[in-house]
């Protein structure tokens, strides 16, 4: 038997609007939750127009769709993911199969390349494809097993239902992050920093995965059901805690030379959604841990993609540079349910840039007041617990962009304090 997708009513409305508006073929992403027992689709979003494409969007651009999917998956909290793609085209459903197949494989390849968490055995590897004929409105739903490169289309059920978005439980936590990575001695290229950070993030991700997750303060047996979250239309938040323990390292040399170091220090808000049909503690833990790993990795990645982080001119001149990672801002998928999506806001961005991005990426009409920016603050470089030595040195605060050049590290990075004390700050901006 094939998979059976239970789809939020609004998705039907969205797709039919697209059907009536557009002439050419339209592609887009399907977003929801796939578990061994059930599959839910909560959102659909069309691929944004590619103004630079050669034929003005007449044909399907695999790379463009995949890049859209990559951006969108960064905006999905734990429990929500890009499940597959849809296409609205007048061609016969059979004729679009090859295109759809290529699309889901390409999308999945790109998204999974950014993942730092380890896939589990019970992860669903089927991706959904949906063909809609704009004339007849006939929908054909098929799945491909993404793990198997030779997989063939399997028919699947596509069923609309109202209120799919409303019966979800939310598991959330705030978590401290404190990473410190040595940089190689001959650190001349940013490439090095990216690689070092990525390696450290992988180690950290494993530590998170090994962590003990507490739900409402308790260590629950794996097969336990979450008591909360089974009522409809009630915002139910289950709070989680994570206990971690470092990995036993057996490095040959306790002390090694390095050319400097990079630290990531602060805290994040993480959340994951579970459909409230008998939600299991094990699933909640898995989804939340993945969100923790993803939200940190995404932000570090985003920062590294920023031009000024890569700015070669700064290299070698500043001994210590600080960059604020973007904060996480949430937006409800529907005003009635708990489900939300998210975006990341850099300190030089306003909320209107968030709403623009929700529109562009997820085709959501969100107003600024719909955004929930209360969970995280953008870090200010705090001068806390400055010891005598450090306070003697005047910190020069320059904030031309998002980065602050400042010598006092966060109180948590005690080791850095010692270092900062002896650094001479060069500022030439």
């Amino acid at each position: 038997m094939g998979r059976s997708y239970i789809v939020e009513d609004d998705v039907e409305g969205y797709l039919s609007r697209l059907c009536s508006q557009l002439a050419g073929p339209v592609t887009g992403l399907l977003i929801g939750q796939s578990t061994v027992q059930r599959d839910f689709v909560v959102m659909a979003t069309r691929t944004p127009q590619n103004n630079e494409s050669a034929d003005g969007g007449k044909s399907v651009d695999k790379e463009w769709v995949s890049e859209h999917a990559r951006q969108v998956s960064r905006m999905l909290p734990g429990g929500l993911s890009v499940l597959g793609v849809f296409i609205i085209s007048e061609s016969d459903a059979k004729d679009t199969l090859t295109t759809l197949r290529q699309l889901v494989f390409s999308v999945e390849n790109l998204i999974s390349s950014e993942r730092l968490w380890t896939p589990a055995d019970d992860d669903v590897t089927d991706c959904v494809t949906l063909h809609v004929n704009p004339k007849t409105r006939k929908t054909v739903c098929r799945t491909f097993d993404i793990k198997d490169p030779k997989s063939v289309a399997k028919p699947a059920d596509w069923k609309y239902q109202s209120g799919v978005c409303s019966s979800w439980a939310m598991v959330s936590c705030c978590l401290s992050v404190d990473l410190m990575v040595p940089l190689p001695e001959n650190m001349a290229f940013t490439r090095n920093m990216d690689d070092c950070l990525k390696e450290e993030l992988k180690v950290w991700a494993q530590q998170i995965e090994r962590g003990v997750c507490l739900i409402d303060g308790k260590k629950l047996p794996e097969d336990a059901e979450l008591k909360a979250g089974q009522k409809k239309n009630v915002r139910q938040t289950i709070s989680a805690q994570l206990l971690i323990t470092p990995d036993m390292q057996t490095a040959a040399d306790v002390v090694q030379r390095c050319g400097g170091c990079v630290s990531v220090s602060g805290a994040i808000h993480s959340r994951a959604f579970l459909h409230s049909n008998k939600p299991k503690a094990k699933l909640a833990e898995k989804l939340l841990k993945r969100d923790i790993v993803s939200t940190v990795a995404t932000r570090v990645q985003m920062l590294l993609e920023e031009p000024q982080t890569q700015n070669e001119e700064n290299k070698g001149r500043k001994q210590t540079e600080q960059f604020c990672l973007p904060r996480r801002v949430f937006c409800a998928v529907k005003s009635t349910g708990p489900l939300s999506v998210c975006d990341y806001q850099f300190s030089d961005e306003g909320l209107s840039e968030m709403t623009d991005r929700f529109k562009e990426m997820l085709d959501m009409d969100a107003a600024e007041e719909d955004l929930d920016a209360t969970q995280e603050m953008i870090a200010e470089v705090i001068e806390s617990e400055v010891t005598e030595e450090e306070s003697a040195e005047e910190n020069e605060m320059l904030d031309p962009w998002r980065n602050n050049y400042i010598g006092v590290a966060m109180a948590t990075a005690v080791a850095l304090l010692a270092l900062a004390a002896s650094i001479v700050y060069l500022s030439d901006v």
Binding site: D247, A267, I268, H269, Q322
Partner: protein, 466 residues
């Protein structure tokens, strides 16, 4: 044994790695020491912070010792109560098995294992992370500290008391580790400290000592001397070699040999009698072990192996227990036997045991000769002295079978005597009840000896070292 005093005691053992990580701006001694000390201070603050969590292994019990949060249990309950929450899926774990054993005699303590964890979550809202990049040639110190604290708590102690003691021990261990790191620092070469547990004679009991890892025992004599002074221990026998480390009752010996099977036996009661026993730990070596069919000829070899295991486990020698072949080779090397002896199935006697102990272990032995087994009954005082001053297992052989004597019960007034015998002729599996109930390890009267045969006793003398 010391353990006998502590019946129904509970050992709380807290383990968990802590990351010691810091940038060393300078590798000159003083600033480096300062940075390391500051990093240790930060770790001590970390374990004193509210995010520190003690998780009882294989159970849902969680304790936040620094904010007095006890999940699943009440802080005023006795430590023993924790056992009911511990899942025991096999015999390896402490929990129920130890509790059951409690009804029997010769009970050792039961262990509650806890892991040291840190809560990474915190209340929101939070401040998003900052990435700091420092381009500055320096050194990174990165090590994992294997924290391992054990405390002996009596059953009347509450869980809260136990945790307080553990947390004190944890902080103390961080201080000791700092001391060891700073003491052993040579340039940029640092040694990771290693906590080891030792069960000392009363009143010390179970103590934890931090030593630099990777340094062989023979280079640590100065540290040991200091420890002997600190704990007021005699300066003529090892207490703090790695071989002396305490073996927790819930950790099975991996080599498969039984340890000290005699501890489950009931001492004979003699009028005005006293018991004199082997001191410390030996393993029981007997026929058919190690895939070696020595049934009928290997009893003295096995008795010798038991003696060697004692010297190894008391820390006198690092050499492992020799095989039959190694024993034979040693006898060839000392010129006692022809080369053809190696690989043969020939018996050896007490004199050979003495020679091998001397050659392989550097241990000298006294030989006691009795021309008739009946004379053994009058050797009570000498044997009692041996067990008091040397405390080593004694090999007895001669005209007949070889045995190991582990102790005697002797009445100075009546001269009555019983011998605690470990019989190497046992061919079965390592099954303690069979061994003790069938007398393979048991108390024997003077009639145990062949009254007319001659006997040689090899009494190994322990070296006076620490």
């Amino acid at each position: 044994m010391v353990l006998a005093d502590s019946e129904s005691a509970v050992i709380l053992r807290l383990r968990g790695p802590l990351d010691l990580k810091c940038l060393l701006d300078s590798i000159d001694v003083v600033p480096m020491q300062k940075t390391i000390s500051r990093t240790f201070e930060a770790l001590r603050l970390q374990v004193k912070s509210e995010s520190c969590v003690l998780a009882v292994c294989n159970s849902p019990v969680l304790i936040w010792p620094n904010k007095s949060v006890f999940e699943e249990i009440t802080p005023d309950a006795p430590c023993e109560d924790i056992f009911q929450f511990i899942q025991t899926d096999d015999q390896e774990t402490s929990g129920k098995r130890s509790t059951k054993k409690k009804n029997k005699k010769g009970v050792s303590a039961s262990v509650i294992n806890l892991s040291l964890m840190m809560e990474a979550t915190k209340p929101g809202p939070v401040s998003a992370p900052i990435l700091t990049r420092t381009a500055h040639k320096s050194h990174l110190l990165c090590a994992t500290l294997p924290m391992d604290c054990a405390i002996w708590s009596s059953c009347s102690d509450t869980i809260k008391d136990g945790c307080e003691q553990l947390m004190k021990a944890l902080t103390r261990q961080l201080f000791e580790m700092e001391k060891v790191i700073l003491q052993c620092m040579k340039g940029t070469t640092l040694l990771v400290p290693e906590p080891l547990h030792f069960l000392l004679p009363e009143p010390n009991g179970l103590v934890t000592v931090v030593l630099p890892s990777g340094v062989p025992d023979k280079e640590l004599e100065a540290q040991r001397r200091e420890l002997h002074g600190q704990f007021e221990l005699p300066d003529n026998r090892p207490f703090f070699r790695r071989a002396n480390t305490y073996h927790f009752p819930n950790e099975p010996y991996k080599d498969g040999y039984l340890r000290n099977p005699h501890t489950v036996l009931t001492h004979p009661t003699l009028d005005n009698g006293k018991v004199y026993l082997v001191q410390g730990i030996y393993s029981y070596h007997h026929y058919m072990q190690d895939h070696m069919d020595d049934n009928g000829w290997g009893c003295a070899y096995r008795s010798l192996q038991t003696i060697c295991s004692w010297f190894q486990q008391q820390g006198y020698v690092e050499r492992g227990v020799p095989s039959h072949k190694e024993i034979q080779q040693a006898l060839v090397e000392v010129g006692d036997k022809q080369a053809s002896f190696v690989g043969s199935r020939q018996w050896i006697g007490s004199i050979e045991v003495q020679a091998v102990l001397n050659h392989l272990l550097g241990v000298t032995s006294k030989i006691m000769f009795v021309s008739q087994g009946s004379e053994l009954a009058s050797k009570g005082r000498e044997l009692a002295n041996h067990f008091m001053t040397e405390g080593t297992p004694v090999m007895i052989g001669g005209g007949v079978l070889a045995h190991t004597i582990l102790g005697i019960a002797w009445s100075e007034t009546t001269g009555e005597i019983r011998y605690l015998i470990l019989d190497p002729h046992y061919t079965g599996a390592e099954d303690l009840p069979v061994i003790t109930e069938k007398g393979w390890c048991g108390w024997k009267g003077p009639d145990f000896w062949d009254q007319t045969a001659y006997y040689n006793l090899c009494l190994p003398q322990r070296p006076r070292v620490i």
